[in-house]
Symmetry: C2
Amino acid sequence: MPEPALSARGDAVGLDRLFRPRAVAVIGASHRAGSVGGAVLHNLLRGGFQGPVYPVNRHAPFVQSVRAYPDLASLPEVPDLAVIVVPAPEVPSLLREGARLGVPAVCVISAGFGETPAGRDLETEITTIARGAAMRLLGPNCLGLQNPDPTVRLDATFATTFAPDGHVAFATQSGALGLAALDYAQDLGIGFSLFASLGNKADVSGNDVLEQVARDERTRLVLLYLESLGNGRRFREIAVRLGRHKPIALVKSGRSKAGARAAGSHTGALAGPDSAISALCRQTGVLRADTLEELFDVAMVLANQPLPTGRRVAIVTNAGGPGILAADALEGAGLEVPRLDPATERSLRAVLREAASVQNPVDVLADAGARSFGEALRLVLADPGIDAALAVFVPPITTQAQEVAAAILEVAGGAQKPILSCFMGTHGVPESLRSLHAGRVPSFRFPEGAARALALVTRHAEWRRTEAVVPAATPAAPERAQAALRSARRRLGAEGGWLSGEEATEFCAAFGMALAPAMTVAPDPDAAAAAAEAIGFPVVLKALRGDLLHKSQAGGVELGLANGAAVRAAVSRLAHLGPSGLLVQRQLTGGEEWLVGAVRDPDLGPLVTVGAGGTRTEIWKDVEQRLAPLSDADLDALVGLPRFARTLEGSSGRPAGDRAALRDFVRRLAYAADALSELEEIESNPLLVFPEGLGAAAVDVRIRIGRSAAEPEAHASRRL
Amino acid sequence: MPEPALSARGDAVGLDRLFRPRAVAVIGASHRAGSVGGAVLHNLLRGGFQGPVYPVNRHAPFVQSVRAYPDLASLPEVPDLAVIVVPAPEVPSLLREGARLGVPAVCVISAGFGETPAGRDLETEITTIARGAAMRLLGPNCLGLQNPDPTVRLDATFATTFAPDGHVAFATQSGALGLAALDYAQDLGIGFSLFASLGNKADVSGNDVLEQVARDERTRLVLLYLESLGNGRRFREIAVRLGRHKPIALVKSGRSKAGARAAGSHTGALAGPDSAISALCRQTGVLRADTLEELFDVAMVLANQPLPTGRRVAIVTNAGGPGILAADALEGAGLEVPRLDPATERSLRAVLREAASVQNPVDVLADAGARSFGEALRLVLADPGIDAALAVFVPPITTQAQEVAAAILEVAGGAQKPILSCFMGTHGVPESLRSLHAGRVPSFRFPEGAARALALVTRHAEWRRTEAVVPAATPAAPERAQAALRSARRRLGAEGGWLSGEEATEFCAAFGMALAPAMTVAPDPDAAAAAAEAIGFPVVLKALRGDLLHKSQAGGVELGLANGAAVRAAVSRLAHLGPSGLLVQRQLTGGEEWLVGAVRDPDLGPLVTVGAGGTRTEIWKDVEQRLAPLSDADLDALVGLPRFARTLEGSSGRPAGDRAALRDFVRRLAYAADALSELEEIESNPLLVFPEGLGAAAVDVRIRIGRSAAEPEAHASRRL
């Protein structure tokens, strides 16, 4: 089911009824403890929902001591939310009844829909009913939802844990992960503003939750566990806007089918299952966590501490070894552990014992008291060259963990910079950890977890300081380019395929992409020689024939032709291939070989790839990737971040490369890939980038168009 | 203090007395709770040491209700172990008394030695005393040691935790980490056979502990936390031998000074602070953990489960999301999650519900009972294409975690392949986790930890299946090579420095390293032309002058000289540099540019580096590294594992490279680097590797000798 366009969105009322209902019906409410219908009703009642809960049960006059009703129509009022736990085949008729009564929101917990082949039609049916009635539908095949806001107290799940009230919104595509997350968050003392299990995402998507969160005053950050991102462009637009105020952290799992796709180009081969998501996160400031553990580590920091304004971290410890471990971990995560200001070192010297180390990491020594520890922490935080502090404490025999925790809390109370703590091991210090969590200083068992979380948060803070924008919609492609594609489509048919050399050249020229000087001529010695004369020697001759893709392997390329005689001889050597024409191209030398390409991700759009090209492309796999449309910052990253970009800088005896020409080529190629949705792959390899001022030129551009939009692939069940 | 040679080692008796003493004296035993001297005595008594404990205290007639003695000489017997907790300045005289009485082992807990500048002389003094009396010394500046063997029950530490009895030996250079580790291991239910805090390693080193472990029947695996490895060659010899039977897992922290050293070659620049340790671990099968957490995760698996015989892992789960998460994590860690055998899939289908997924990951569905879960686990383990299983369980409302844990344990009881488990989140399942730990099935909170640990264990198992050997000692260098170095030393003096081109050529020729054909002639046009004629055109001319290192930047290189006239002209162009001679070298083309080099690590010896060379060396940083001396497996890895090795394979239109010639060159260079200890750096970049059968040729070799051995650097306090 395609997601409706943005303009048709914004059904804020329906979502608000879903998450903040005034009355809830449970259809399929049951007596049986252990049944899902029994658990949901039990949770709603036990959770203290701030409104009436109506059990709906065709047979029982009351359920769990609460008066029950035979159907929705019999209820004393129309509920805002109907939670459905009956078998899948009964769901459509219930939804129709709800739609007729004007129920604004439903949550279908029942399974047996799109997650199995047999249930796909049923899922299409319920989605159609809900959309037709502007009734928001969460699920099906989900765990339910929770809103711990004291004015709502909604626990419409069959989980055993009702999240404590807090500022974190959590949406998960896997109900099982949701169960684990509820338990884990409780262990860590993290409170939720919202919990939604998205299930099959028939209607309500992760993007909808983000929209809801944007309106919700109580939410300060969002955690997502997703297996698919849905509409990537909408995600990007919401994330860039929302992320300015409320950080979004994401665990994305599930190997995409893209990885299995046979690669038709280097660009395709370099687009792994994860590349597009990684690019999207870099472009939108989304904190990409690798594991659920890391997701909640990040949440602890974001929920409780200010964002750092830089990468420079000071470590205060009471033991040398853990201090080194922490420094290794921070630097390994891309942060810095710089020397402190000499004035800070002097101040530390004045309060610490002589044997203490006042260089970063600051080691106050094992027998230092809580007061020294706290004082050292205060001093390093006051250092203008420090952006964050990590307190690493090993509870030795002579100091009390509890007192150190109190000292850390006192310093944190007045600090404008983030403080993280690590109490190595935890046995024996649970009390102090509890006090730290209560006091909003995140505490880790080992320094590595703290380092990873702080690094993610720091990168997010850096993104916030950039001017991240989603570029305006790409303008329509020039008519000349559209004509080239139409011509190719006529030749290739509905299945699509690779453009011929002439078609590709015509297409690129329409977008103003720099191509190596070339002319296409008839397979005739005189015509070829004349063309070579016009273009300038030396030239390359390439045999053109519709079915000849890998020309050089087929012996269809003649290199280094320095004069007319050589060109004529080459034409006769190529004759046996029966070419339809010849491409006479200026043979260029002295440029660096780059790869510039784009491959279309079915959900996220064209993934633009820039990096080292030529014959060694696959060996080095040195590329940077961003999703089109590209902002200026994206362009800078693409041409600046590959390691190969060092060749643009020049060195002794080697001039700088023409960065502007490369950037211009990338911009045009991304525009082309984004403007024409039937374009599946486009790649220039090599693109020769010459010394500064001398431009760039694509020697070869390969372009593939996909299946015609008129005959879509048979995958109606694709999830949003 | 240099470590004694291997032959002088093997003081097994002293180490045995240290770890299994029959009587212990505590010098500095104190009444005061909270003092170190008080805590050590308390721990020895409370721990139930199976022998007499003698407090030694100059003033008190008894301490903690135990009769005390004024000095060692007054004790009723000579103790096997004296634990010393008095201030540092008093330690030497106590050690002298112990030596006089014949005390075989001491543990110096006191700080104030080599860890501070003021204490360095004191540390040298106590080491000299101990070595002179063949008395083994643990520490100083350490936490002490524990041996939980019921026949010993030694807790000679001031820690609050006495490790439970078990099969894991743990040695740590940081006492603070040791404290954290004792607590953490207790939480995980891991028992120790030995715990040693090495402190400053004045005498007893990590290598000594490994030797002791080799003799200790009770130890099944060794965990090390080290900041320096000490004698790398001895470590390598012990580790290769011990690792065949008892795995060694290591966390190495601390950024080495090597990283700060100004790099004189690409090889030097590519040898980061960690490179030599990483190479050593790969060569010795040591499991390199990144964090203390990972170290103990690995220990849980090694201590309780058989080694896997391959990388293929089956996942059994009761929820789709966590199954995908687990598959992602396993593949991300380098393991495989293959499809199951069709017969296995059929068997699974017969015992599971229709909606269950019988492909790997096997999803038994949320409402499956413990019996189905166990049966599925048994079936995947029986699959001949599966080497290990990961059970991932999310405690839902309808199944009991306790029963599933019991089912897993039952399957594990009869299994010959490793089983790991993950109970997502832990809230609500601590009982089942306890039963799993007790039943020796490692349990993780999240699948990622399980995946990382299993991957490390699998790599160790693979190493065990290789024929890892430590090559015999490198034979002495040929006299001709030694003469070349002597000549360079005369020119460079005690400080050392770079060899001249002639010296380097002479040196390489002595080792039979393939060099580009070249002759050195006087700076005379006729001589140069004659040499070029003899070598074959085209040639390169290089101006030789002792102080001219970067010839090409100085304009001292003339390329592409195709005939005698060109050579003569080039000689006159070079005249203004006043060369002492000219190198006439055949100009070679058509080879792939490799880098082959070695740089000496002060502890671990020559680190041999092989990979992509030429002008892009620093961009790609694509090298493999191994420590000399090299085994055949090491040579295979060096020429086979860099990504650049794909250029050796050949492809359409490109011949395979001469792998044998590259391998031969690496072997000779490693021999040279290992045979001559004054050689600090040697690098050929580029080494041209030609198509198969055509050999390889070094175009340029740079060699640096270090400071003369007669005048060692002033760092007497270097730790072993």
